[in-house]
Protein backbone atom coordinates (compact mmCIF):
# COMPACT_ATOMS: atom_id res chain seq x y z
CA UNK A 1 0.00 0.00 0.00
CA UNK A 2 1.56 3.24 -1.01
CA UNK A 3 1.07 6.42 0.96
CA UNK A 4 0.69 9.65 -0.91
CA UNK A 5 2.10 12.80 0.63
CA UNK A 6 1.04 16.20 -0.44
CA UNK A 7 4.22 18.03 -1.31
CA UNK A 8 4.04 21.60 -0.11
CA UNK A 9 5.49 24.46 -2.09
CA UNK A 10 6.70 27.93 -1.22
CA UNK A 11 5.17 31.08 -2.56
CA UNK A 12 7.23 34.01 -1.21
CA UNK A 13 5.12 36.56 -3.12
CA UNK A 14 2.19 35.73 -0.82
CA UNK A 15 4.12 35.47 2.45
CA UNK A 16 3.36 38.96 3.71
CA UNK A 17 -0.38 38.75 2.95
CA UNK A 18 -0.77 35.25 4.29
CA UNK A 19 1.56 35.04 7.26
CA UNK A 20 2.88 38.46 8.37
CA UNK A 21 0.15 39.04 10.96
CA UNK A 22 0.26 35.47 12.25
CA UNK A 23 4.03 35.56 12.67
CA UNK A 24 3.96 39.05 14.18
CA UNK A 25 1.33 38.02 16.73
CA UNK A 26 3.35 34.89 17.51
CA UNK A 27 6.52 36.95 18.04
CA UNK A 28 5.02 39.84 19.96
CA UNK A 29 3.44 37.54 22.57
CA UNK A 30 6.86 36.06 23.18
CA UNK A 31 9.13 39.10 23.14
CA UNK A 32 6.55 41.64 24.30
CA UNK A 33 7.96 44.41 22.17
CA UNK A 34 6.43 45.27 18.82
CA UNK A 35 9.62 46.71 17.29
CA UNK A 36 11.61 43.60 18.21
CA UNK A 37 8.77 41.39 16.94
CA UNK A 38 8.68 43.31 13.65
CA UNK A 39 12.44 42.84 13.22
CA UNK A 40 12.14 39.12 13.97
CA UNK A 41 9.36 38.69 11.40
CA UNK A 42 11.42 40.52 8.81
CA UNK A 43 14.48 38.37 9.59
CA UNK A 44 12.29 35.27 9.33
CA UNK A 45 11.09 36.15 5.83
CA UNK A 46 14.63 37.00 4.73
CA UNK A 47 16.02 33.77 6.18
CA UNK A 48 13.14 31.85 4.59
CA UNK A 49 13.93 33.31 1.20
CA UNK A 50 17.63 32.53 1.53
CA UNK A 51 17.01 28.93 2.55
CA UNK A 52 14.06 28.33 0.19
CA UNK A 53 16.20 25.99 -1.90
CA UNK A 54 16.46 23.67 1.13
CA UNK A 55 12.68 23.45 1.55
CA UNK A 56 11.73 19.81 1.06
CA UNK A 57 7.98 20.31 0.98
CA UNK A 58 7.34 18.01 3.97
CA UNK A 59 5.89 20.74 6.17
CA UNK A 60 3.29 23.34 5.32
CA UNK A 61 4.67 26.73 4.36
CA UNK A 62 3.43 28.39 7.58
CA UNK A 63 4.84 25.63 9.81
CA UNK A 64 8.19 26.00 8.09
CA UNK A 65 8.20 29.79 8.58
CA UNK A 66 7.17 29.43 12.24
CA UNK A 67 10.09 27.03 12.79
CA UNK A 68 12.45 29.70 11.42
CA UNK A 69 10.83 32.36 13.62
CA UNK A 70 11.20 30.13 16.70
CA UNK A 71 14.93 29.88 16.07
CA UNK A 72 15.11 33.67 15.67
CA UNK A 73 13.29 34.12 18.99
CA UNK A 74 15.67 31.73 20.75
CA UNK A 75 18.62 33.66 19.28
CA UNK A 76 17.05 36.84 20.60
CA UNK A 77 16.72 35.35 24.11
CA UNK A 78 20.32 34.15 24.00
CA UNK A 79 21.45 37.63 23.01
CA UNK A 80 19.58 39.05 26.01
CA UNK A 81 21.16 36.41 28.24
CA UNK A 82 24.65 37.31 27.20
CA UNK A 83 23.97 41.02 27.60
CA UNK A 84 26.44 41.36 30.49
CA UNK A 85 26.80 44.62 32.30
CA UNK A 86 23.22 45.65 31.64
CA UNK A 87 21.71 47.38 34.68
CA UNK A 88 19.20 45.01 36.18
CA UNK A 89 17.01 45.55 39.20
CA UNK A 90 17.47 42.20 40.87
CA UNK A 91 16.66 42.37 44.53
CA UNK A 92 17.58 39.69 47.05
CA UNK A 93 14.93 38.81 49.63
CA UNK A 94 16.65 35.98 51.49
CA UNK A 95 19.69 35.95 53.73
CA UNK A 96 22.79 34.28 52.34
CA UNK A 97 24.80 34.45 55.56
CA UNK A 98 24.21 32.67 58.90
CA UNK A 99 20.45 32.63 58.40
CA UNK A 100 20.69 31.35 54.85
CA UNK A 101 17.32 31.10 53.14
CA UNK A 102 15.46 33.14 55.77
CA UNK A 103 13.74 36.43 54.94
CA UNK A 104 15.92 39.54 55.15
CA UNK A 105 14.26 41.49 57.94
CA UNK A 106 13.58 44.72 56.06
CA UNK A 107 12.17 42.86 53.04
CA UNK A 108 9.54 40.70 54.73
CA UNK A 109 6.04 41.03 53.24
CA UNK A 110 4.05 43.88 54.81
CA UNK A 111 0.31 43.90 55.44
CA UNK A 112 -1.65 45.44 52.57
CA UNK A 113 -4.03 48.33 53.13
CA UNK A 114 -7.62 48.33 51.77
CA UNK A 115 -6.85 45.04 50.08
CA UNK A 116 -10.41 44.35 48.87
CA UNK A 117 -10.73 47.77 47.20
CA UNK A 118 -7.31 47.42 45.60
CA UNK A 119 -8.23 44.07 44.05
CA UNK A 120 -10.96 45.55 41.85
CA UNK A 121 -10.05 45.34 38.17
CA UNK A 122 -9.03 48.70 36.77
CA UNK A 123 -6.84 50.22 34.08
CA UNK A 124 -4.56 51.64 36.78
CA UNK A 125 -4.07 48.22 38.34
CA UNK A 126 -3.16 46.67 34.97
CA UNK A 127 -0.80 49.48 34.14
CA UNK A 128 0.92 49.17 37.55
CA UNK A 129 1.47 45.42 36.97
CA UNK A 130 2.86 46.19 33.52
CA UNK A 131 5.29 48.73 35.01
CA UNK A 132 6.38 46.24 37.66
CA UNK A 133 6.96 43.51 35.06
CA UNK A 134 8.99 45.97 33.00
CA UNK A 135 11.26 46.57 36.00
CA UNK A 136 12.23 42.89 36.11
CA UNK A 137 15.47 41.73 34.52
CA UNK A 138 14.53 41.00 30.89
CA UNK A 139 15.00 37.24 31.13
CA UNK A 140 12.77 37.06 34.23
CA UNK A 141 10.13 39.16 32.48
CA UNK A 142 10.13 36.90 29.41
CA UNK A 143 9.84 33.67 31.42
CA UNK A 144 7.25 35.17 33.77
CA UNK A 145 5.10 36.48 30.91
CA UNK A 146 5.24 33.21 29.00
CA UNK A 147 4.30 31.14 32.04
CA UNK A 148 1.84 33.44 33.80
CA UNK A 149 0.34 35.82 31.28
CA UNK A 150 0.47 33.75 28.10
CA UNK A 151 -0.02 30.52 30.07
CA UNK A 152 2.43 28.34 28.16
CA UNK A 153 3.25 24.86 29.43
CA UNK A 154 6.50 24.57 31.43
CA UNK A 155 7.87 22.06 28.91
CA UNK A 156 7.20 24.36 25.99
CA UNK A 157 8.95 27.32 27.62
CA UNK A 158 11.96 25.19 28.54
CA UNK A 159 12.19 23.93 24.98
CA UNK A 160 11.83 27.36 23.43
CA UNK A 161 14.25 29.08 25.79
CA UNK A 162 16.63 26.15 26.15
CA UNK A 163 16.46 26.15 29.96
CA UNK A 164 15.79 23.37 32.49
CA UNK A 165 12.56 23.12 34.50
CA UNK A 166 14.39 23.83 37.76
CA UNK A 167 15.95 26.88 36.16
CA UNK A 168 12.48 28.03 35.10
CA UNK A 169 11.11 27.71 38.65
CA UNK A 170 14.02 29.67 40.13
CA UNK A 171 13.29 32.46 37.64
CA UNK A 172 9.53 32.35 38.29
CA UNK A 173 10.14 32.46 42.05
CA UNK A 174 12.52 35.43 41.83
CA UNK A 175 10.20 37.24 39.43
CA UNK A 176 7.12 36.71 41.61
CA UNK A 177 8.92 37.75 44.80
CA UNK A 178 10.12 40.92 43.14
CA UNK A 179 6.70 41.64 41.61
CA UNK A 180 4.92 41.13 44.94
CA UNK A 181 7.21 43.71 46.51
CA UNK A 182 6.80 46.13 43.60
CA UNK A 183 3.00 45.85 43.77
CA UNK A 184 3.12 46.27 47.54
CA UNK A 185 5.10 49.51 47.22
CA UNK A 186 3.31 50.92 44.19
CA UNK A 187 -0.24 49.67 44.49
CA UNK A 188 -1.36 48.00 47.71
CA UNK A 189 0.41 50.36 50.12
CA UNK A 190 0.60 53.38 47.90
Amino acid sequence: MSETFKKHTLNPDKWIDNYADYLFNYAVTRVNNSDTAKDLVQETFFAGLKSAKNFEGKAAERTWLVAILKRKIIDHYRKINSNKGKAEVRMSFYDDGDKEGNWIEERVPQSWQNEADKMIESTELKSTIEQCIDKLPEKYAIVFRMKTIQEFETEEICKELNITASNLWVIIHRARTQLRKCMEDNWFNN
Binding site: P12, W15, I16, D17, A20, D21, F24, N25, V28, T29, S34, A37, K38, V41, Q42, F45, F46, L49, K50, F93, Y94, E100, G101, N102, W103, V108, P109, S111, W112, E115, M119, E121, L125, K126, I129, E130, K147, T148, I149, Q150, E151, T154, W169, V170, I172, H173, R176, T177, L179, R180, M183, E184
Partner: protein, 90 residues
Protein backbone atom coordinates in the same frame (compact mmCIF):
# COMPACT_ATOMS: atom_id res chain seq x y z
CA UNK B 1 11.53 13.12 60.22
CA UNK B 2 11.54 16.87 60.88
CA UNK B 3 14.80 17.19 58.89
CA UNK B 4 12.97 15.85 55.86
CA UNK B 5 10.26 18.47 56.24
CA UNK B 6 12.37 21.37 57.43
CA UNK B 7 12.75 23.92 54.67
CA UNK B 8 13.96 27.52 54.52
CA UNK B 9 11.70 30.48 53.75
CA UNK B 10 13.30 30.69 50.31
CA UNK B 11 12.37 27.06 49.61
CA UNK B 12 8.91 27.48 51.12
CA UNK B 13 8.09 30.49 48.96
CA UNK B 14 9.48 28.71 45.88
CA UNK B 15 7.04 25.83 46.53
CA UNK B 16 4.33 28.39 47.17
CA UNK B 17 5.00 30.01 43.76
CA UNK B 18 5.02 26.62 42.02
CA UNK B 19 1.72 25.72 43.65
CA UNK B 20 0.09 28.74 41.98
CA UNK B 21 0.50 26.87 38.69
CA UNK B 22 -0.62 23.53 40.13
CA UNK B 23 2.82 22.03 39.52
CA UNK B 24 3.85 21.03 43.02
CA UNK B 25 4.39 17.52 44.42
CA UNK B 26 2.39 16.11 47.34
CA UNK B 27 5.54 15.92 49.49
CA UNK B 28 6.25 19.61 48.84
CA UNK B 29 2.70 20.51 49.87
CA UNK B 30 3.29 18.72 53.20
CA UNK B 31 6.64 20.51 53.61
CA UNK B 32 4.94 23.83 52.95
CA UNK B 33 2.10 23.21 55.44
CA UNK B 34 4.68 22.18 58.04
CA UNK B 35 6.68 25.36 57.41
CA UNK B 36 3.56 27.52 57.82
CA UNK B 37 3.09 26.07 61.32
CA UNK B 38 6.05 28.05 62.59
CA UNK B 39 6.52 30.78 59.95
CA UNK B 40 3.83 33.44 59.84
CA UNK B 41 5.79 35.55 57.36
CA UNK B 42 5.63 32.83 54.71
CA UNK B 43 1.97 32.34 55.59
CA UNK B 44 1.42 36.00 54.76
CA UNK B 45 3.45 35.64 51.56
CA UNK B 46 1.29 32.68 50.57
CA UNK B 47 -1.99 34.51 51.08
CA UNK B 48 -0.74 37.60 49.21
CA UNK B 49 0.66 35.34 46.51
CA UNK B 50 -2.80 33.91 45.81
CA UNK B 51 -4.11 37.45 45.44
CA UNK B 52 -1.28 38.27 43.06
CA UNK B 53 -2.30 35.22 41.02
CA UNK B 54 -5.81 36.67 40.70
CA UNK B 55 -4.30 39.93 39.47
CA UNK B 56 -2.11 38.07 36.93
CA UNK B 57 -5.15 36.14 35.72
CA UNK B 58 -6.96 39.43 35.07
CA UNK B 59 -3.95 40.54 33.07
CA UNK B 60 -3.79 37.23 31.18
CA UNK B 61 -7.47 37.44 30.22
CA UNK B 62 -6.88 40.96 29.00
CA UNK B 63 -3.92 39.90 26.86
CA UNK B 64 -5.85 37.00 25.30
CA UNK B 65 -8.37 39.46 23.91
CA UNK B 66 -5.66 41.41 22.08
CA UNK B 67 -4.65 40.47 18.57
CA UNK B 68 -1.48 42.08 17.30
CA UNK B 69 -1.25 42.97 13.64
CA UNK B 70 1.19 44.85 11.45
CA UNK B 71 -0.06 48.06 9.88
CA UNK B 72 -0.69 48.28 6.13
CA UNK B 73 2.34 50.60 5.77
CA UNK B 74 4.56 48.11 7.58
CA UNK B 75 3.37 45.32 5.30
CA UNK B 76 3.97 47.40 2.17
CA UNK B 77 7.49 48.21 3.38
CA UNK B 78 8.16 44.56 4.23
CA UNK B 79 6.87 43.45 0.82
CA UNK B 80 9.17 45.92 -0.91
CA UNK B 81 12.19 44.73 1.06
CA UNK B 82 11.37 41.10 0.40
CA UNK B 83 11.00 41.77 -3.33
CA UNK B 84 14.37 43.54 -3.42
CA UNK B 85 15.97 40.56 -1.76
CA UNK B 86 14.23 38.17 -4.17
CA UNK B 87 15.64 40.12 -7.10
CA UNK B 88 19.12 39.98 -5.59
CA UNK B 89 18.83 36.25 -4.95
CA UNK B 90 17.57 35.57 -8.52
Amino acid sequence: MSKKFNITCDQATTICDKSQYGEVSFLDVIRLKFHFLYCKICGKYSSQNSKMTQVYKMKAEDCKKQIHCLSTEEKVQLKRELQELQELEA
